[in-house]
């Protein structure tokens, strides 16, 4: 696929180290995966909370959460594209995806605060700032995600000198 010579297991969900004790469990019910996501989610949430306490909302608009969501979107795009270009999702790559992607970035970014703040701003009588905050987060977030994916793809082409069919 990407010039990776690792042997693929028959079942890509199966990690050799974890399959010794009988039937394999799906990833989302494995204690090791849940623990990685718990650890990453704790770190990501701590970082978000620290930023949101340091930079309180201005005129009701939570700029810290805006910055957190956009930065997290860019970093997740960068991470997932880097991982998929390095090879299939198992072993170390899967552990990094769970710890950093699902855990840290998932805990760092938040949708519930985005929705609740958008609803509060719209409901407070002047809907324009609320709409701008909500729609702005989604649109800039999509551009940031796309930029993260593009940066990872460009890095992969230049540094590793690996070209796949769709890059040409």
């Amino acid at each position: 696929m990407n010039g990776n010579d690792e042997d693929l297991p028959l079942d890509p969900d199966l990690d050799a180290a974890e399959s010794a004790s009988g039937a394999p469990r799906p990833i989302h019910l494995r204690p090791s995966a849940l623990l990685l996501v718990f650890a990453g989610g704790t770190l990501g949430t701590a970082a978000r909370e620290a930023l949101s306490l340091t930079f309180p909302p201005i005129d009701g608009i939570p700029y810290a959460i805006l910055a957190v969501n956009i930065t997290g979107a860019l970093l997740l795009g960068l991470l997932l594209e880097s991982l998929v270009r390095r090879g299939p999702d198992h072993g170390g790559r899967r552990r990094v995806r769970l710890l950093v992607g699902t855990g840290v970035m998932g805990g760092f970014t938040t949708y519930s605060a985005l929705a609740a703040d958008t609803a509060r701003l719209i409901g407070s009588g002047s809907p324009a700032p609320g709409l701008a905050y909500g729609v702005g987060t989604v649109l800039i977030g999509a551009v940031a995600t796309w930029a993260g994916i593009a940066i990872a793809a460009a890095f992969h082409r230049r540094t590793l000198g690996v070209a796949t069919e769709d890059d040409r």
Partner: protein, 126 residues
């Protein structure tokens, strides 16, 4: 915020993220669709619950510390913007323009309505 409350917020966020992984997997094994229903369900339910919590806090039924631990912590870690945005961009890259727009702006509208509904429910309970 005391260091203890801060630590509890962070740990609750870890629990929320683990709950997201488990629920995401459970939904994905039952619903096979190119549309990212799992993340949508997680974000809409998390927004509804944060609204309820905010409504209860406005009626002083929930302390500031509990609001921070469950709201910013657990529900903040449970819901995710980065994955939602990634899935939107994936749909757009596959030229599924309508699905991408719905997953971006439609889900924003749905979660915002869910949060507002939650605030109303929380206010009614208070």
């Amino acid at each position: 915020m005391t260091p203890l409350i801060f630590a509890l917020v962070a740990l609750a966020g870890g629990l929320g993220a683990a709950a997201r992984l488990a629920l995401d997997g459970i939904i994905r094994t039952r619903v096979s669709s190119a549309f990212p229903w799992a993340t949508i369900i997680i974000n809409v339910t998390g927004s509804l619950l944060l609204g309820v919590l905010a409504g209860l806090a406005a009626g002083h039924l929930v302390s500031d510390a509990s609001y921070a631990i469950v709201g910013a912590g657990f529900l903040g870690g449970y819901t995710t913007f980065s994955t939602a945005s990634f899935e939107t961009v994936r749909l757009l890259q596959e030229r599924k323009w309508l699905a991408g727009a719905v997953n971006g702006l439609g889900v924003l509208a749905a979660t915002t309505l869910a949060a507002a509904l939650g605030v109303w429910i929380g206010g009614t309970l208070s």
